[in-house]
């Protein structure tokens, strides 16, 4: 299922494959080590601190602040139709970080380091197979979650 994650996927199999399923359901999942309690985003199955392989998913709010960004003009294979697109690194409120595209609710010219944002799960409508990702939107942006 992890091949659902991203417009172009390079990773089909991982111990945290369900991340993509949760994302399809509108949930952004980090991980927590059941042994020592260490938390991670992105999620990881094997604890970097205590070496335990016993983990559980932990939902994060997606609220965070912009750490840095770049507007990509020269794209690699699979993204040539998307240029220019803005990649953003977001520091999440609950700890951890993610990299995502700037969404439609924030104009590229308005982006600022330190601005509060909301990361929103998305599904590609224009691609037939299931493809999920997330974008960086204005704070307060809402979306639907599966029950």
């Amino acid at each position: 299922m992890f091949s659902w994650f991203g417009k172009v996927s390079f990773v089909a199999y991982t111990k945290v494959s369900d991340f993509a399923v949760h994302l399809k359901d509108g949930r952004l999942m980090g991980s927590r080590c059941k042994q020592c309690g260490a938390t991670n985003f992105p999620p990881r199955a094997d604890c970097a601190d205590c070496l335990s392989g016993d983990f559980e998913y932990r939902e994060v709010s997606g609220r965070g602040t912009i750490y840095t960004y770049s507007v990509i003009a020269a794209a690699p294979t699979g993204f040539d139709d998307d240029v220019p697109y803005t990649v953003v690194v977001v520091d999440l409120e609950e700890g951890g970080r993610l990299l995502a595209w700037l969404g439609d609710s924030i104009a590229t010219d308005d982006i600022e380091i330190g601005m509060p944002v909301q990361v929103v799960p998305k599904i590609f409508d224009e691609i037939e197979e299931i493809k999920v990702y997330y974008t960086v939107e204005k704070t307060g942006t809402t979306w639907e979650k599966a029950p």
Partner: protein
């Protein structure tokens, strides 16, 4: 521990070398190094080859190079840590000599990057980062360094012009280097006007892929003294450190922690400080990378890298001459060869053989070779005596 000396250094022409295979490129640098040191090929005990395999149609390139140099049955092996492969090979040679196993070792960095078609290059470009969480959003190599630049500009007020002043300096010196890919000066107006790549970068913030090779011959102290005598340049400090693959696991994106640690270790081993360095080759794959290198290596304080280039403190005659062979920017960046090329330049500088680019009375030199976006950094300190 024995001192390890450099007894031969050779460099081929970097550029679009559609006239030669990778082993033919390797041969040019190898022959030049033997001639430079007046070394009989039979003195070599082993070779270490540096190359990044995914660019070559020929798989397991060390084998074809070893054969073409007519060095069978002596041992060889490949080192690969992305753009730092060349320095990893030098470190490996240093260890092989220290161990007593191989008293004389040739290091050959070679790369043929223009063998691949543009679509193949673009596909590779999409996998330079961490592929599970980052490449899925179309990150690129310039894009990563661009994000460092964006943050550095935000925190320290580094300017667009300061970034490009790095490129202007490196083209200035590249114009004097017969082995460089680009041998012409550039102006600020022209640089600012070039096509966007990944904001804030445009074309002139980025180094270019190239084909090329460089070779270094290293030897144990007594052998070095007997073969090269006073011409020996000593590799007295070797530092190597790593940082996370993913930028999501790195709190600070205004410098490279691996470079700071590698520098600290190399300085300590060589018994020098940043202020002792007369000439340095740093990994300027993008303009911000050289500015961060000034800071990570301790040539200036954190955040002062912008003013450091504006005040021309990294030109010949400044605090420390940096990339006076043109750097990756003007010389070109055949990724497996780059670390070895840096070392060749430092050896020639410390021997006062660099002609119009010579740094006066250079006694201590340094190379700073980065793999990826600082996942691996090697810092080496060289001395004249």
């Amino acid at each position: 521990m024995s001192r390890i000396g450099i007894i031969g250094a050779g460099h081929g022409v970097f550029g679009r070398r559609s006239d030669a295979t990778v082993q033919e490129l390797a041969f040019e640098a190898f022959r030049a190094a033997l001639e430079d040191g007046g070394i009989d090929r039979d003195r070599l005990d082993a070779t270490v080859i540096a190359a990044v395999p995914e660019y070559h149609k020929q798989r397991s390139v060390a084998g074809v190079v070893q054969e073409y140099l007519n060095l069978n049955p002596r041992p060889t092996w490949l080192t690969e840590v992305a753009c730092a492969s060349g320095s990893a090979a030098i470190r490996t040679a240093w260890m092989a000599i220290q161990s007593g196993l191989h008293p004389v070792v040739a290091v050959i960095g070679c790369q043929k990057m223009t063998e691949l078609s543009t679509p193949e290059i673009l596909a590779l470009m999409g996998r330079v980062g961490e592929v599970q969480w980052e490449s899925v959003f179309g990150t690129t190599f310039p894009g990563y360094y661009a994000m460092f630049a964006t943050r550095h500009m935000h925190e320290y007020g580094t300017t667009r012009e300061q970034l490009l002043e790095v490129a202007i300096k490196n083209h200035h010196y590249g114009a004097m280097n017969p082995n460089a890919l680009f041998r012409k000066e550039i102006t600020m107006a022209k640089a600012l006007d070039s096509d966007p790549v990944a904001s804030p970068f445009c074309v002139y913030d980025c180094c270019a892929n190239a084909d090329g090779a460089a070779c270094l011959i290293l030897a144990e102290e007594d052998v070095a003294n007997s073969i090269a005598g006073d011409r020996t340049v000593w590799l007295d400090g070797v530092g190597c450190a790593t940082s996370s693959m993913s930028v999501l696991r790195r709190p600070d994106l205004t410098g490279l922690p691996s470079a700071q640690k590698a520098a600290e270790d190399a300085y300590k081993m060589a018994g020098v400080t940043a202020q002792d360095i007369d000439v340095a080759e740093v990994h300027d794959c993008f303009t911000i990378a050289e500015i961060m290198a000034y800071e990570d290596l301790g040539f200036c304080a954190k955040g002062e890298g912008g003013p450091f280039i504006s005040d021309r403190r990294s030109y010949i005659g400044g605090d420390v001459a940096v990339n006076v062979d043109g750097g990756l920017k003007a010389k070109g960046h055949p990724i497996g060869a780059t670390g070895v090329s840096m070392a060749v330049e430092i050896v020639k500088q410390l021997r006062s053989e660099s002609g119009e680019r010579q740094v006066p009375d250079a006694q201590v030199g340094l190379t700073h070779n980065v793999g990826g976006i600082g996942q691996y950094t090697f810092v080496h300190v060289f001395k004249r005596s």
